[in-house]
Structure formats: C-alpha cells, structure tokens
C-alpha cells in the first residue's frame, strides 16, 4: 500500500524547520538576523518540498508514495511511518508555501522594544516548529503518529496566541487549547480501541493495516464518533466552532492564517483519511447528520459574517462557512464532490491567507480592526485595495479564480446525492457575495478619509506576501488541471474503500 522512497523526503521536510527553529531560538544575534535565518530555512524547506513533489507520480498503484517506515514503539504497535497521497501532498505543499509567506507578513509583528530580540526569536521559532508539525500531521500514515502530531501541534499555537496575541489572548488561547484537547482525548480512546480491533502486532497502527477491517456495526459507529468529534472540533463545525472566532481575533495575522488556513484542514483531512477510509459503513450511517450539520455551518457562518464589525472575526466566520462546504463535499461520497472538497481545502488555505494577511496590512496602518473605522481606503492604499478585492472575489468564488472550480465541483457532486443540501448551500454563494462586497464597500469605497497622514501603500515586502497568493488564485483558477491530476486518483482510491456506489454525476469538465 505504500511505495517506499529511498530518500527520506518527508523526514527532511520536518527536520529542516525544526533545526531552523532551534537555530533561530538559541543563536545569539540581532532579531533581524534571526528573522532572515527563519525565512531562509522556510524557503529551503519549500524548495525541497517542490523537489520531493516532482518525485511523486500521480496514478500509481500504491496509495502512499515517498513513504518511510521504521519501528518506533513496537510494544504499542506504533511505527514511524510517513507517506503521501495526492490530497496530503497538495496540503503539504500548501503549508510549505504559506509558511514563508506568513513569516514575511509577520516581519514586524513583534515590537522590538519590549524584551529585545528574545521575543522575536521565540515568535519565529514557534512558527517554524509549527511548520514541522503541519508537515508531520499530513504525512503520517500511522494512526498513533498522526495523533501525536495532532496533539503536539496545539502547543506552538497555544504559545503563539497566548504570548503574542491581542488583549484577550489568555482567554482565547485557553479556549482553543481546551476545546482541541477535549476532542483529542476522546479521539485517544477511539485510537486505542481501534488498534485493539485491528490485527495488532508491532505495526498494528499503520493505516494500511487498519483499512478494510470488518468491524461490528456498533463498535464501528462508536469509533467513528470518537474520531469525528475531534475532527469536527478542529474543522470547526457548528456547534463546536465557538473557539475559532476568539482565536482568530486574538492572534496575530500570521498565526491566524496558519491556524485557519492549514491547521483546521487537519480536521477535514482527518475526516477523509480516517472517518471515510477506516469506517466506511459508519460514515454512511452518519451521513445524514453530518450533511445537516455541514449545511448549518455553511449558512450560519455566512449569515454571521455579514453582520460583523471586527474584520478578523468576519474572516473567521467565513471560514466556518467554507469548512461547511468542505465537509459537505467529503460526506457526499462521490468522486466529484470528494475531488472538489480536496481542491477546496487547497483553495481555502490560500484565500483565507490572502484575506488575513492583506486585511492585516490595512489594519496595521489604521491601528484598528473595526470596519466602521475605515472608509475610502482605495484612495489611500490603492495597491492593497486591489489585492484585497482579488482576495475577496476569490473567497466568494468568482469564476476564473481558483475557488470557483472547487465550489462548483462540490455543489455538482453533492447535488446527485443530497439535492436539498446542495440547493441550500448554493444560497451561501449569494451570502458570500454579500459579506465580501459589503465589506469591500464599507472599507474601500467612499470619500477619502480625513487626517490620515503618512500612510503609504504596500511595501516591497508586502507585495511579496500578496503576490504568490494572487498568482495562485489566477493560475489555478484558469488551469486547475495540475492540482486535480494529483487529487483525483487519491480521492478515487479513498472512495474505493467506501462501500457505496459512487454516484458519478456529471464529471464536470475541469479543463
């Protein structure tokens, strides 16, 4: 099931940021030097990731490629096993691209006068450690190893929010940690029980060994619930979503981007990899409930986003809505919807990154996150306004930009299986237009604001932050084939484990 690789690409992708974070944290020197070193390490990781991606051949027989496997804790059946399929590869590449972008965006996040270079070094080191865990959690093909990364990645985020965040950062960090850990501990019980249901032995935690088990229905459903609760909290889905708006508001934009753009994908990724692949019958049994919750998330998130005055909170609610779409696509259990959901994860990562980081640019200039404090900014910072417009249009899935492809695939794929859900979710497209365009109108259009002196348009650094994101929107929007070529076989493989007749409704033209 795994094709072993000779060069340990994935381990390298994890080790390099880890080494980088140690260097950044402990090397004496100025904060500026530390920041440059951090950026350097993240760029090296990105290059390595691209090289590793070239080694990946889409459409092989094995589910996982670039695989490595060593025994770690044989007494528990745990192996250090890594491997990627199409979905994981795409998400890893997304993390590798977003990390340097976020590092660039976070360049001036930590004021240097307080505590000197130590705080800056800690901040950048934590971001690099987070990158290690992000790669690890997507690349793990051993359930225990996945769980370890799933929990471990909470700690850097906890410190990033709690130490470097806004006024209510303690509360937000604690809420985030408690929600996620509660879900994690429920999942722990399910993980242990799953191993005992499987063949056991020194490598009994490998996904390959745990796929295709014939479990008695009650056990399978209980296990599914255990895993799903953790992923639903992570995703987040209504009704366990309340940690996200607080966490997003109180973190720095770079942290919020990585949190919402990458870490939350772990939830939906887990739904595909574990809930669907390991417990297909239970997934089928639970689909009605999940679809209902997903539709509620879609509509609730969109409706609440419209009325927000805090911009970061607004983006958080839009994410809740988008994640509803992703979960809907996953649990529609059709190849089209599944591919759409995976591509959606990729697109959402970039579009959320764009929203957070570009909004951060004018938030910092104005010193406030509240929409009423803005107005007419397209005359003050036309460049940023333009980039913001593109980011907003991508979020509302304008055709020609990348998000349109994924949203279309999800809706088309869902329509065959759950037409009502699809129709209801379509209304969210209108709501999305509402919240994005209203936001743009209130912030950017209007007469030029008084009393704003010395506000410059975007700097070179900020252009470098926005450029990759905008380029992605346009390229994938017009030519999504490379991404879909990698995603489709992986989705097909995963869904082949699900014992339903994959209703392949309109294999929409994806050219």
């Amino acid at each position: 099931m795994s094709e072993m690789s000779s060069v340990p690409w994935l381990t390298l992708l994890m080790v390099i940021p880890l080494v980088g974070s140690a260097v950044v944290a402990f090397l004496p020197g100025s904060a500026e030097q530390a920041k440059r070193i951090a950026l350097g390490f993240s760029l090296v990781t990105l290059v390595l990731g691209v090289v590793a991606a070239t080694q990946y051949k889409s459409g092989g027989t094995a589910q996982f490629q670039l695989a490595e496997q060593h025994a770690w804790i044989p007494q528990f059946g745990v192996s250090y096993a890594l491997g990627v399929d199409g979905i994981a590869l795409v998400l890893i590449l997304m993390s590798l691209v977003l990390t340097p972008v976020c590092l660039l965006a976070a360049w001036h996040d930590v004021p240097e006068d307080i505590d000197g270079a130590r705080r800056t070094k800690a901040y950048f080191a934590l971001l690099l450690v987070l990158e290690t865990f992000m790669v690890g959690v997507f690349a793990a093909t051993d359930v225990f190893l996945f769980y370890v990364f799933f929990e471990a990645m909470l700690i850097p985020v906890y410190f990033l929010i709690g130490r470097f965040g806004g006024a209510r950062r303690q509360y937000a960090a604690m809420k985030f940690l408690l929600f996620s850990l509660a879900g994690g501990l429920i999942m722990l019980v399910a993980v242990i029980a799953l191993y005992l249901q499987g063949p056991g032995g020194a490598d009994g935690f490998l996904i390959a060994k745990l796929t295709g088990l014939s479990l008695d229905p009650t056990t399978e459903r209980l296990l599914w619930v255990g895993f799903f609760i953790a992923f639903a909290i992570k995703a987040p889905m209504v009704p366990v979503h309340t940690w996200l708006p607080d966490a997003a508001t109180e973190s720095t934009p770079a942290t919020a981007t990585l949190l919402v753009g990458v870490l939350d994908k772990v939830g939906t990724f887990g739904m595909i990899r574990f809930c669907l692949q390991l417990f297909p019958n239970a997934s089928e049994w639970a689909t009605p409930l999940v679809v209902v919750l997903a539709v509620i998330s879609v509509l609730y998130g969109a409706l609440l986003a419209i009325g927000q005055t805090d911009m970061m909170r607004l983006i958080a609610y839009t994410s809740i809505s988008h994640f509803g779409f992703i979960v809907l696509g996953i649990f529609a259990v059709t190849n089209v919807a599944g591919a759409g959901a995976s591509l959606y994860m990729l697109n959402h990562g970039f579009s959320t990154a764009a929203l957070f980081l570009i909004a951060a640019m004018f938030i910092r200039r104005r010193g406030s996150k509240r929409i009423p404090d803005f107005g007419g900014w397209q005359r003050v910072t036309p460049g940023i306004a333009g980039a913001f417009l593109i980011a907003g249009l991508s979020t509302l899935a304008l055709p020609g930009l990348s998000s349109f492809v994924s949203e279309f695939l999800v809706l088309v794929g869902t329509f065959g299986a759950h037409p009502v859900a699809a129709v209801l979710s379509c209304t969210a497209i209108i709501l999305a237009a509402l919240y994005i365009l209203l936001w743009y109108k209130r912030v950017m259009t209007g007469p030029k604001p008084e009393g704003l002196t010395g506000v410059r348009d975007w700097s070179l650094r900020e252009k470098w932050v926005a450029a990759p994101l905008i380029a992605f929107f346009i390229v994938i929007g017009l030519y999504p084939k490379p991404a879909l070529d990698v995603i489709n076989p992986a989705v097909d493989k995963t869904l082949s484990y699900v014992h339903t007749n994959a209703a392949t409704v309109a294999e929409g033209s994806t050219k």
Binding site: Q75, G162, R163, L196
Partner: protein, 530 residues
C-alpha cells in the same frame, strides 16, 4: 502419651545476592546513624550525602546482579506440607520497582541536600525539637546546627519502599509499610520555614497513617483466619479450597487490606492527608514522597492484586473500580480551584493515582507493565517539578502561591520553560512521558478490561481534559501574565539539584520520544513468581 520427637529447627535459605540491594540500603542507613553519632558537625552533611548517594548507586548495581538470582528467598519449603514459606519474592516487578526507587531516591536525596550556600540542608530546620518561633530556634540556626539525620531516615524509608513490593506475605508487607512510613512521618515535620504547618502535616500524616496501618493489620488478621496462612501463594490457593462459610472473612479482610494500601497512594476516599501533608512537608521531601511512596505502594498493590488476591478478584474488583473512578474525578476536579502550587501538585498526584489504578484493574501482564512504566515516568517528572518549586522564593520563604509565579517566563525563562514542559507532561501531551504512560495504561484497560475498562478509560480521558485546564493555567500565569511584583526571585541551585532536575526533565522527554526500551524492560519484568 506418645512422645512426639521435637521438630528440628529449620534454618531459612538465604540467597544473599538476591537481597543484597536491600542489605546495602539498610546497612548504609545504619552507617549513617553512626555518622550522626561520631562525626563532627562540620563534615556530617557532606559525608552523609556521599554515603547515601554512593550506597544507592551500589544498590542499583546489586539489583542488576540480582536479576540473575530471581525466585523466592529467605525461607524454606516445609517438608511435611510442602508449603513454600519464603519471606521475599525476588522477581521482575520487585526488581524493577527496586531499581526505579533507588534511582528516584538518588534524585530525591540530591535535592534534599541542597544548601544554597548555607551550613545544612536549606529545606530542613536547624533544630527539630525547638518550638516554632522561640528564641532557641533562632539561636540554633545562628549556631549552625543542622539536621543531617534526614539522610539515614531517607535511606530507611527507601529500604522500606524497596521491601514493600518484594515481600511475599502480609506480615512482611505490614512491616515494610511501617518501615517506609515512620521516617516519612518524621521527615514531614522538619521544614525550616512555616514550621507549625510542617508539624501539623507530620501529625496528620502520622495519625492517619497509623489508622490505615491498623486497618491493614485488621485485614491481615481476617485473611489469616480465612486462609490459615499469611503467605500470598497460600492465600491465593485458599480461595478455591476453603469452604464458603468463611467468605465473610475474605471479603472483609481484602477490603481492609486494600484500605491500608490505597491510603498510601492517596486514593479517594482515603486521600484527605495528601494535600495537607504535601503542602506542609519540606518541598524536597514532598517530591521524594510523591515519586517513591507511590511507586512502592503501587508495587505492593500489584503484588496483592495479582498474586495474593487474584483468584478472589471478583470480590473486591467492583470496590476498587469505584475507588479508581472517584480518585480520578476528585483529583481532577479539586485541583481546578487550588491556588497553592504544592497543593495543586498534590491533587494532581491524586488524579494520577487514579489513572494508575485503572491500569491495575486490567488483570493482565500488560496491566502490570503499564503500571510499572507509569510510576517511573511520573516519578521522575514529579521529583523535577518539586525540585523547581524549591527554587522560587520571596522574602526568604518559598513562594508557592500561584500568583507569585506570574510572569516567571519573562524573568527566568529556563525555569519557567522547564516547569511548563513538566506541566505538559502531567497533562499528557504527546512527545512527553506522561502521554506514553497514559496511553499504556489506557491501552491495557481497554484491551483486557472489556466494557468496564472502556468506561474507565473514557472517564480517565475526561478527567485528563479537566487537568489540562489546571496545568494550562499555570503556563498562562508563567508566560502570558505580567509579574505581580519584583520581589519574587529564583535561587541558583547547586550542581546536585541542577543535575536532579535536568535528569528528571530529560527522562520525561526521552520516555516521550523513545520509550520502547523502558516499555520492553517493563514487559519483560511483569511476571510474578508465586
């Protein structure tokens, strides 16, 4: 009357190499007492410290040799009835526990010996007999008196703890219980600061400990009445052989004996002493107690549950399950409201005792190995944690109130960082030994415990989540808050304490990342000899 030939006196067979570790520790304790008598005061502290650490290291080497001499010893096989009348059972779990106790004891003694540049141990009072607050107390401190008796007392305690999981009969277990407890009662009352609190803690520990020992003895008497013998092997066999009329003795006896043992680990509802004693005792002694007493007591509980009363497990299992559930819940819930660091760690140790009890209730070899792993992982972490608590001071006294720890991350990042890491280990975050230990215990419980085991694990997971809040709050205080005032300082520890804390933290990390060697050792050491 027919003359019965007098029975010949049968000498016990003694395998000296098997009991050598115990003999070394007790012998060193005796030497320590002589040192107290004859060595002039200036050199006493150094000599006592050297003797203690050296003897414990020697004992560890002896344990390595003893692994080749496993079996029942210190007794004989009765020719007439072919009963095996041996006092000690040197087997895997016993030797594993002895090794763990010796190593944790070394760390505990190193922290106890911390002088911070003074004359004697900083944690212990200069004159234990002086009334708190009297001029004699101050005069003793000025005159440079020291209480270096703590070292032989600690060695006696370690000897008793090593003996506790090794004994093969109930009377030996009672004696070991007393041998390990008496020095701890004395040590708890010898704090240098807040002496009234310390003496109160000592008295509470003594009274409640004496009561629980009395319960244990009562249970022993009843079990003897049931089985006709105090040996665990005979007790186990007697369950199937004895008539049902005597069942009342078995139930009552088992219950009372467990009360005595569960008191020692701080299980609910026998936990009332834990917060007060942990708070009042000198902090290094608290760390030593939290790690080593728990290890020894769980070793004894394992032996009683798996060798002595295993055939009668259906009698007492439900009661212990209820105790485990209560312990986890009470320990987790009550730790939320604590504002004193030592009390917080005390309630957290109660919760951890509950988790270990869940492992005990998996009647399987995996249960034994998971318990062995857990006490080692927890022991090293808690010694390091209490070692860190000894360092934070304000106005010359220990700053144990949580508000005094605010902002420590800014002023002393290394100390705060280490404490944060240990808090994460207690919470059970992956990549720490606490997670691997919890996983082992939970896996054992689900694996062989059936539905009950799964329910226990779910409750354990929920209680873990509650304790996460407690530990996260400490981290929030240290790293995300501003310091309350500038007078809180962190003393610089000497080599010994630094070494102890560093080793404890390193082991916490190592057992989280590469636990397989210790897991393997625990697996191989989980077979009891009968």
């Amino acid at each position: 009357m027919t003359a019965v030939a007098p029975a010949a006196f049968q000498q016990a067979n003694i395998d000296y190499l098997a009991v050598l570790p115990l003999l070394i520790v007790f012998g060193a304790a005796l030497v320590g007492v002589l040192v107290e008598a004859f060595v002039p005061r200036e050199r006493r502290h150094t000599i006592q410290l050297t003797i203690s650490v050296a003897s414990l290291v020697l004992a560890f080497v002896a344990i390595l040799f003893a692994t080749k001499h496993q079996g029942l010893t210190f007794g004989y096989t009765d020719g007439a009835t072919s009963r095996r009348l041996f006092a000690l059972a040197i087997d895997g779990p016993a030797l594993f526990m002895q090794g763990a106790l010796v190593l944790m004891g070394v760390l505990g003694i190193l922290i106890m010996a911390e002088r911070f540049g003074g004359v004697g141990s900083d944690a212990f009072t200069a004159s234990g007999a002086s009334t708190p607050g009297s001029p004699i107390e101050a005069a003793s401190a000025r005159a440079g008196l020291i209480t270096s008796e703590v070292f032989p007392l600690t060695l006696f305690a370690i000897g008793g703890m090593m003996l506790f999981p090794t004994v093969n009969d109930l009377i030996g277990m009672f004696i070991a219980l007393e041998v390990l407890s008496l020095p701890l009662y004395i040590l708890s009352g010898l704090a240098r600061r807040r002496r009234l609190l310390s003496q109160e803690a000592s008295l509470k520990y003594f009274l409640l400990g004496a009561f629980s020992s009395a319960f244990f003895l009562f249970g022993t008497a009843l079990l003897y009445g049931y089985a006709g013998s105090v040996y665990f092997g005979d007790l186990s066999k007697a369950v199937s052989d004895t008539s049902l009329g005597l069942n009342g003795l078995l139930v009552a006896g088992a219950f009372l004996v467990f009360v005595g043992l569960l008191f020692k680990v701080g299980a609910v509802p026998f936990h009332a002493w834990t917060p007060d004693v942990y708070q009042g005792a000198p902090t290094p002694v608290t760390g030593f107690m939290a790690a080593c007493t728990k290890a020894a007591a769980f070793g004894a509980i394992l032996r009683l549950a798996y060798v002595g009363l295993d055939t009668a497990s259906w009698q007492w299992q439900n009661a212990v399950i209820i105790v485990a559930v209560l312990t986890m819940i009470v320990g987790a819930v009550l730790s939320v409201t604590q504002t004193d660091m030592k009390r917080l760690l005390a309630y957290s140790s109660i919760a951890h005792a509950g988790f270990v009890l869940v492992g005990v209730l998996a009647f399987d070899q995996r249960g034994v190995s998971s318990v062995l792993f857990y006490v080692v992982a927890y022991g090293f972490s808690i010694i390091a944690a209490f070692g860190l608590v000894t360092l934070v001071r304000q106005d010359g006294g220990e700053a144990t109130h949580l508000s005094q720890w605010a902002g420590l991350g800014k002023s002393h990042p290394v100390i705060a960082g280490t404490m944060a890491f240990l808090m994460l280990a207690f919470a059970g975050i992956p990549l720490t030994s606490g997670f691997v230990a919890k996983f082992a215990v939970f896996a054992a419980a689900i694996g062989t415990g059936g539905a009950t085991g799964t329910v226990l694990v779910v409750i354990g997971a929920v209680c873990s989540a509650i304790t996460v809040f407690v530990y996260a709050r400490v981290i929030v205080l240290m790293f995300f808050s501003e310091p309350a005032d500038d007078t809180v300082e962190v003393l610089v520890p000497s080599v010994g304490t630094t070494f102890a804390i560093a080793i404890g933290t390193l082991i916490t990390f190592a057992l989280g990342v590469v636990p397989s060697s210790l897991l393997d050792l625990a697996d191989r050491a989980s077979q009891f000899v009968r």
